[in-house]
């Protein structure tokens, strides 16, 4: 009797799974149109904004009527002023006509900057490279869960155009999707005129409706990352379309370089994202999207688990424009999945990959001493760039009892010997990082130096915190028997292993024990996002044009409101919360002029140095690359503001040279060996 029952159960299970799976398929194929939903959202969001404005106004007025200290009164008055100004134009989404445009606008078009790239650039050919991160991307969507993977910059960040772009050498504004733009007198409203020829890669015209769609997406609850909702919701007062060709972005505060900063979010095509809804993540995972940029992904070029290729858009609308004509040269960019650095290196030496970035000094100085280099088939270049430094260092979790103590943190700064890592493990090819946001030229604090490795000073600081007794193993203890022992979480990679061992070895001299916890990528980030780490080795890539401290240090991002529970999923991984620092952070983010950005940045850097919030590690003020000689570059090699020679797409593939080189390799003919240093932008520290 038992057996038939089992068989029936198994059958039913099979049937159920069949139906369930077919259900799923049906769901993703089901057409979805968000037009009505979107229009309803515009209205409801406008109403929500207005209601909030009204209550805020009331609350502030009530507060001002009561007893207040001078400082608070000043703040509240400023707040009230802002609220009043916003109530003059309270709707977030506005649909207007071109006639409604203000008449007194001063339009500019930024056509006076130098060309980018080299006039000698030839179009054509295929660039072979690999998928960074050694893993196949989880999706090619630019937003939503897992979109921010290491491949995104290759198909979105470096490809898509904003209405206004920054010139990568002069840092001045140049046209992107907009051919002219204007800023209102109060500096908060930016008006753009969309280039009449701007087209999506599927041939459709770029219109202001696409921005309305994008802002709807950014504000929608369907998006799992709160970042866009917060940023677009708080930093903007609204978006307005003036017919199809004009639109206006209204920011909550005036910003330097406003047209670039305001327009610095990608635009998504209205028609393509019609199906943006609750299941959009699954729906758009592998759907190639139309782009405004020079390269598109075609459906047939996504070979899962093997490679992804980008193809140059046929008759790209900007191909003859001043700042774009010498860039985006190869016909195809092919990214292969290779799962191991060593294999990437071998493939490069065989010529299967055209480019390689030997960060590891052993690779650069020893393993590239090979015939291909001696005979000039492979060329090497070191390029000193000026780009926001990656803030690599040991981030301390201030929520941990010992690390909450400032003297302990100062001691840890003195006990971490990064200079030895630089001299030994990096062969002097790096500098000591001193500040959180370095590499922003004038904005960065130039004279601040971090605390150097010094056993005596470290021990003095620890003694101040009560750690005076050395245990049997030489590790310091305090009166309660707590040991100076900290776990450092880091990404398990051979180069980090050797850095961390060096740091551990040296810290022992100062009586500190570092326990090393090398983790894989996802486990590491999960732990940090939950704020469960003690110390973590990682770095943030700063974004142009301004430093940003708010995300990393504002108390709002540190704790769940009203509790002492660290807030998960924010970038304040130090769990740093200080109400006296908050106003400076806010001022820095809301700065109206470049001077304010600079002054508050310097002020913040000094505070963070004094409090020893983290242990700065290293920075590399250059990038270096080895490439086969058929990959050609402009005379200056690259642009000043770039952290990767590929990101501005100035290289090209010379087919004739490729043919010549391949023939030379057969016949044994050689070319002069080339190893060039471009140090026009290298900083000289001391001029005696």
């Amino acid at each position: 009797m038992k057996r038939p029952a089992l068989i029936i159960a198994a059958f039913a299970l099979g049937l159920a799974s069949f139906f369930l799976s077919s259900c799923k398929k049906d769901l993703s194929a089901k057409p979805y149109d968000n037009t009505a939903e979107r229009e309803a959202f515009y209205k409801s969001y406008n109403a929500k904004v207005m209601a909030k404005l009204a209550t805020d106004l009331k609350a502030t007025e009530a507060a001002l009527a009561g007893q207040l200290s001078d400082k608070d009164r000043k703040e509240k008055t400023a707040l009230l002023d802002g609220l009043k100004r916003r109530s003059e134009r309270p709707t977030y989404f506005e649909f207007l006509k071109p006639e409604d445009l203000p008449q007194d606008l001063q339009w500019t078009s930024g056509e006076d900057q130098p060309d980018i790239g080299s006039p000698q650039a030839k179009k054509g050919g295929t660039l072979h490279y690999y998928l960074e991160g050694y893993a196949f991307p989880a999706t090619i969507r630019p937003i939503g869960a897992e979109a921010n993977n290491s491949f995104r910059s290759y198909h979105t960040d470096d490809i898509e155009l904003y209405p206004v772009m920054l010139h990568p050498d002069t840092a001045k504004m140049i046209p992107g999707l907009a051919d002219r733009w204007a800023v209102s007198a109060d500096g908060q409203e930016v008006y753009y005129h969309i280039d009449p020829e701007a087209r999506w890669s599927d041939g459709k015209k770029v219109t202001s409706r696409d921005w309305m769609m994008s802002y709807y997406m950014y504000l929608s609850d369907y998006l799992s990352e709160p970042f866009y909702r917060n940023y677009v919701g708080e930093e903007f007062w609204g978006i307005a379309s003036y017919g199809d060709d004009y639109f206006c972005l209204r920011m909550s505060t005036p910003k330097p370089l406003a047209p670039y900063v305001a327009g610095g979010s990608w635009v998504y095509q209205e028609d393509f994202f019609k199906e943006f809804g609750p299941d959009f993540e699954a729906r758009y995972n592998w759907r190639p999207r139309p782009t405004t940029g020079a390269y598109e992904i075609r459906a047939e070029d996504i070979r899962k688990g093997r490679s992804i290729s980008l193809t140059r858009v046929k008759d790209w609308w900007a191909k003859d424009r001043k700042y774009y004509r010498y860039r985006f040269n190869p016909d195809r960019l092919e990214y292969l999945l290779v799962r191991d650095t060593e294999k990437v290196f071998q493939m490069f030496k065989l010529g299967d990959l055209d480019l390689f970035f030997p960060i590891d000094p052993v690779k650069w100085y020893e393993q590239t001493e090979i015939p291909q280099v001696f005979k000039g088939y492979i060329e090497k270049v070191t390029y000193y760039n000026q780009y926001p430094a990656i803030s690599v260092g040991l981030y301390l979790n201030h929520h941990q009892p010992l690390l909450g103590n400032q003297d302990v943190r100062i001691g840890l700064q003195h006990a971490s010997n990064w200079q030895k890592v630089i001299d030994f493990d990096l062969r002097g090819d790096a500098e000591r990082l001193n500040t959180l946001e370095a590499g922003y030229a004038n904005y960065s604090h130039q004279t601040l130096k971090t605390r150097p490795f010094d056993v005596t000073l470290a021990r003095a600081a620890f003694a101040k915190a009560g750690f005076t007794q050395a245990g049997q193993d030489g590790i310091l203890q305090d009166a309660q028997g707590r040991r100076l022992s900290f776990t450092i979480s880091y990404l398990k990679q051979p180069q980090y292993d050797s850095w961390m061992l060096r740091i551990k070895e040296e810290a022992k001299k100062a009586g500190v024990e570092y326990k090393l916890e090398g983790m894989d990528n996802s486990a590491f980030f999960a732990k940090i996002q939950r704020k469960e780490h003690e110390m973590a080795l990682l770095g943030w890539q700063g974004q142009l044009p301004f430093p940003d401290f708010y995300q990393g240090f504002h108390s709002k991002e540190a704790y769940e409101p009203g509790t002492d529970k660290p807030k998960p999923m924010t970038n304040n991984i130090s769990v740093f919360a200080d109400p006296t620092v908050d106003p400076i952070l806010e001022a820095n983010r809301a700065a109206r002029s470049e001077e304010v950005v600079r002054d508050t940045t310097h002020q913040l850097e000094e505070i963070f140095h004094e409090r020893a919030v983290w242990v700065p590690a290293i920075r590399r003020p250059f990038f270096r690359t080895a490439f086969w000689r058929w990959v050609r570059w402009p005379d200056d090699f690259n642009v000043r503001l770039g952290n990767d020679p590929q990101m501005n797409h100035v290289l090209w593939i010379d087919q004739d040279i490729k043919k010549e080189t391949l023939e030379a390799m057969k016949s044994g003919k050689s070319f002069p060996e080339k190893n060039t240093v471009y140090d026009k932008h290298r900083e000289k520290k001391t001029a005696e």
């Binding site: 030994f424 056993v455 776990t487 009586g511 190893n675 001391t686």
Partner: protein, 436 residues
């Protein structure tokens, strides 16, 4: 009987020799800090003799009149005493390095200049590679960093000012300056000695007492191999206690009691033997954090999976011996279970597992090494052959790493195998007993 076995063992030449060498190695391993370590064996300071290697107490730099409140580096102290020449004396162990977390300063190898060309030390082969010059006034501040091809400057060179900061660049071609960004063209290259910096992994040198060189962390390989051997011996001692204790007890009980007990334990054994061992180690490592693991944890995990083999042998042997008349006789005389098992049956069943002993040791050594090689074993504060091996295979361009660890591993395992072979032969029952 045992004496006869011993004399038979001694008669097997190869095994006996291997055994004596192995015992010698064990004695060496027991000498510990006397042979390998960063602490001095003896220091004569102000006429007083100190023995830091044999004391719990750590001596700070301040103690010896130095500046900092950290443990003194005796290698530096030795140099200082020599320079001061005031009768201070430091006697270091033959290998003056700790196995782990003790890296050397950068080594500098002066290059030879002759007739305008730069040669490797020895003056025969022209130098190709990277070399630096130091400011003549201070030997620590770089002046120029440049590349050579066949003894001549070629390619980019970097200039530094008197403070060691970047001052400009030069480009050379076949020994001639082609281009420079320094205003005065930079200091002249000729006349200032060139030095090659030897980064880790550094080849074996007698001067720095890295007899087998260093690995890519800059840690001494000889010291690591020595420390690794110590760890294996320590682990083996614990391991034998655990698995032989558990294996013998459980195996004998299974064989002697039989019945339901045997049945249940056999099922447990089946379950354990089906758990993938490596996975368990990985899970445990991930949960408690690699740096919190110690030797005991690893050995216990190993033992939890390894007693099964021993117990299986003992179980069958006990089943067999139990049926013998002497076991029945002992029982009739009123001996309890424990007495029958341990006094009467075990001595007759033990010979099979004694022969296993050396092979268990070899098995443990390879498993520990393999685990470290894969990166799941002991934390970095333990010296380990596995990590040296891993380092060697990923730095094949530094052959001294992989060669030394390979040679040591093979020879130790070979010794063990010889011993094992001899023991097996000495304990072979066919040599003594005849069945009737």
């Amino acid at each position: 009987m045992t004496l006869r076995r011993l004399s038979r063992f001694q008669a097997i030449g190869r095994g006996w020799w291997a055994f004596r060498i192995f015992v010698f190695l064990l004695v060496l391993a027991a000498l510990d800090q006397t042979l390998v370590g960063r602490r001095a064996l003896a220091v004569n300071y102000n006429g007083e003799w100190l023995f830091p290697a044999f004391q719990q107490r750590t001596y700070t730099e301040e103690f010896f009149g130095g500046g900092e409140d950290q443990e003194v580096d005796y290698r530096v102290l030795a140099k200082r005493f020599k320079e001061e020449n005031k009768g201070g004396k430091v006697i270091m162990p033959p290998v003056p390095w700790d196995p782990v977390l003790d890296s050397d300063e950068l080594q500098k190898r002066p290059l030879v200049e002759s007739e305008g060309k730069i040669y490797f030390p020895g003056g025969k082969e022209p130098f190709s590679g990277y070399a630096v010059q130091y400011w003549p006034k201070s030997q620590d501040i770089k002046l120029r960093d440049a590349r050579f091809r066949s003894g001549l400057l070629q390619g980019p060179a970097t200039l530094f000012d008197g403070k060691g900061e970047f001052a400009g660049k030069q480009t050379w071609f076949e020994g001639k300056l082609v281009e420079t960004s320094a205003e005065d063209g930079g200091p002249v290259a000729a006349g200032i000695p060139w030095v090659q910096l030897l980064y880790k992994p550094a080849p074996p040198t007698l001067a720095e007492q890295h007899f087998l060189g260093t690995d890519s962390n800059g840690w001494d390989i000889a010291a690591q191999l020595f420390g690794g051997f110590q760890v294996i011996v320590k682990a083996a001692f614990l391991f034998f206690l655990l698995i032989y204790g558990a294996g013998i007890t459980i195996g004998c009980l299974q064989g002697y009691l039989g019945g339901a007990f045997d049945l249940i334990v056999e099922r447990i054994v089946e379950i354990i033997s089906n758990i993938p061992f490596l996975l368990v180690v990985i899970i445990i490592t991930a949960n408690i954090g690699r740096d919190n693991i110690d030797l005991m944890t690893i050995v216990v995990i190993f033992a939890a999976f390894s007693w099964i083999g021993i117990s299986a042998y003992l179980r069958t042997a006990t089943y067999r011996e139990k049926a013998r008349d002497y076991a029945a006789a002992a029982r009739v005389q009123g001996a309890g279970t424990a007495r029958v098992i341990f006094r009467h049956i075990l001595p007759n069943a033990i010979s099979t597992i004694v022969t296993l002993l050396p092979f268990t040791f070899a098995g443990l050594a390879t498993s520990l090494t393999a685990l470290d090689y894969l990166g799941f074993g002991l934390p970095d504060s333990y010296p380990s052959w596995g990590r040296v091996l891993e380092d060697g295979t990923s730095n094949l361009s530094s052959p001294w790493i992989v060669c030394s660890v390979f040679a040591v591993m093979v020879s130790v395992l070979l010794l063990i195998t010889f011993i094992g072979e001899a023991i097996r032969e000495a304990f072979d029952p066919k040599k003594f007993t005849t069945y009737q």
